[in-house]
């Protein structure tokens, strides 16, 4: 009973979030943020442990796997646009990954955060399933790093497009790559709404950032941690 109850609540909260999104038309109303807030309140009110909720909703979190695989589709639709862009995209993503990891570590250190928190922050700039594996290996808090990745995805979905316009980044490919590189799945879901090009390059950047970060993280960790 509780299994189907939490599944129902999760899908219903998401649907409510979509309804609010449609009614307000605001990018600040992200269905995933609305759903997390609603479910968090319901868990606290009912005294349900997070582990029980996570067990009940395994079916939904499992679907993240095939959905990640499906990100190949928007990328495939854009293969012609990728010609001549492989090197610039990899250079931009490499630079972004290093800046993101180093600034994350140093900001936590500067503000007096713990060593484990530095390690958690270092791995947060990749998609949730990857950051869990990386934080675990590096000695951070795996689940917290996944939360960071999701929160920053929500921030990216809310503010990313607007900030890029302020920063003077107008090319739809650069906009998609930038959001995908730092805001992963939730950011990519938002960029798919912006347009096919933005969505495709965002999904591409999310996948490649995972690869680039996995390769560069040992180096950054060796130098800084």
């Amino acid at each position: 009973m509780t299994l189907i109850l939490w599944l129902f609540v999760t899908v219903a909260a998401y649907e409510l979030g979509r309804w609010i999104r449609k009614r307000t038309g605001s990018s600040l109303a992200q269905p995933v943020a609305i759903a997390i807030a609603i479910i968090g309140v319901l868990l606290a009110a009912s005294g349900t442990a997070y582990d029980d909720y996570a067990d009940a909703t395994t079916l939904i979190s499992f679907l993240l796997g095939p959905a990640t695989v499906a990100l190949a589709i928007p990328l495939y639709h854009q293969t012609a646009r990728l010609k001549g862009m492989v090197v610039p995209v990899l250079v931009a993503l490499g630079a972004g990954a290093v800046v993101s990891m180093v600034s994350g570590i140093l900001l936590v250190r500067w503000l007096g955060g713990s060593d484990a928190l530095e390690r958690t922050m270092a791995t947060k700039a990749v998609t949730a399933p990857v950051t869990i594996a990386l934080a675990d290996r590096l000695g951070g808090y795996p689940e917290l790093s996944a939360c960071f990745a999701i929160v920053i995805g929500i921030v990216g979905a809310m503010l990313g497009p607007r900030l890029l316009t302020l920063l003077g980044v107008r090319d739809p490919r650069a906009r998609g790559v930038a959001v995908g590189a730092v805001s992963h799945g939730v950011g990519t879901a938002r960029m798919l709404e912006e347009g096919r090009v933005e969505g495709a390059f965002s999904g591409l950047a999310m996948g490649l950032t995972a690869v680039v970060t996995c390769l560069l993280l040992p180096l950054v960790a060796h130098l800084l941690l």
């Binding site: 899908v11 997390i36 979190s61 796997g65 930038a178």
Partner: protein, 128 residues
């Protein structure tokens, strides 16, 4: 419908198997994504009636739903987050903003100065 689902799960399975065998530090679904990309390029179909595209597009249109259970996990870390709120918030937002600006600017510069790469996104033109 089922054919498309089989392809998605098959690529995830193959990706996970490759990770398990080789020990490369990547998650199975990410390798699966690269495999499905190769499959799509090799098949060269990908019309609207392609079952992979139909099922995949449906999954992608509700991508946010699948993140909700993990996102709710934030409640478990409430104490850590409260005790280290300042470093967490500043480092999270700061490194995110620096990363976003770096990627956006580096790529914008590269696209502007590289010959052979269009300076505009050429909206509307379809591929394949």
């Amino acid at each position: 419908m089922i054919t498309g689902l089989l392809w998605l799960l098959g690529c995830q399975l193959a990706g996970t198997a490759i990770v398990d065998v080789t020990g490369i530090p990547l998650p199975g679904p990410v390798v699966g994504m690269l495999l499905l990309f190769i499959v799509l390029v090799v098949r060269r179909r990908g019309g609207e009636d392609d079952p992979i595209i139909q099922v995949g597009d449906y999954f992608l249109s509700h991508l946010q739903l699948f993140f909700i259970p993990a996102g709710v996990g934030v409640v478990v870390y409430f104490a850590i987050i409260r005790d280290a709120a300042l470093p967490i918030v500043v480092a999270l937002l700061g490194s995110w903003l620096l990363g976003l600006a770096t990627v956006g600017w580096v790529l914008t510069l590269a696209l502007r100065h590289l010959p052979g790469v269009g300076s505009e996104g050429a909206p509307g033109e379809e591929i394949e």
